[in-house]
Amino acid sequence: MFVRLSAALAAVSLLSGAAMAQSAKPTDPQIAHIAYTAGLIDIAAAKQALGKTSNKEVKSFADDMVRDHEAVNKQALDLVKKLNVTPEDNDTSKTLSKNAAAKLAELDKLGGAAFDKAYVANEVAYHKAVDSALETTLIPSANNAELKSLLQTGLKIFQGHEQHAEHVAAALK
């Protein structure tokens, strides 16, 4: 998560709010792309953290993020292959990636405890934003039952990460 809270909320409203009400629901190939992109963003964030942090808890959290999101994305890739679906880039994926790149650049300027706090705070906000998008838009919009089920597992993983990030954030204070 690479989005500031405000940007995260903007991304969520893009996914679930008025914008979505006006346009058609995202299609399965778009949903697959959004979910995969959201995972890649968190992996990139974790890898940046692993290169910068010297805090044991932050390092361990970042290791968990890489491991879990790589596992989820592998499942997603296996599923799209099985379903013969090609993930389709879309405005939501593009916005997520753009915000993520900006956040990476912003965090890159920080170091030490300031970086740790900013990274973990962002992880809390990012997972919240993605959870909300999954719950309100992506899961209800998914047509394929297996995709829906994978998204539901993804939601539980993300909710777990959000709570884990909150624990780490509390420990950093």
Binding site: V72, K74, H161, H167
Partner: protein, 109 residues
């Protein structure tokens, strides 16, 4: 979905005391599954001496971590982990990686 409690007789422990009295105790192994981030069953009652075997069916690593700090069992993806119950009491436990995974183990003497 199968129910994931299969108390099985895992071991028949026979201890022969110096007096020549044979004492045997039957210990059970109780399986608890972790699948799609759900612990099932979430509430289990067992006895001191029983073995709990967590079966992690997910591709994600989990832990079974006692809130009171008594134990912390690592459960790599698609692997099992066991714990022999040593003391009585009710212990809440959770997964350190996904703290939304919560369950309770009640151990009777």
């Amino acid at each position: 979905m199968p129910r994931w409690i299969f108390p099985t007789v895992a071991a028949l422990v026979t201890a022969t005391l110096a007096l020549g009295i044979s004492v045997s105790a039957v210990a059970a192994t109780i399986q608890i599954s972790m699948e799609n981030l759900e612990v099932a069953p979430a509430e289990v009652t067992a006895k001191v001496g029983d073995t709990i075997e967590w079966v992690n069916k997910d591709v994600f690593a989990h832990t079974a971590t006692a809130r009171n700090g008594d134990w912390d069992v690592m459960l790599p993806p698609k692997k099992n982990g066991t714990l022999v119950l040593k003391k009585a009491g009710t212990v809440d436990y959770y997964c350190r990686f996904h703290p939304n995974m919560k369950a309770t183990l009640t151990v009777t003497p």
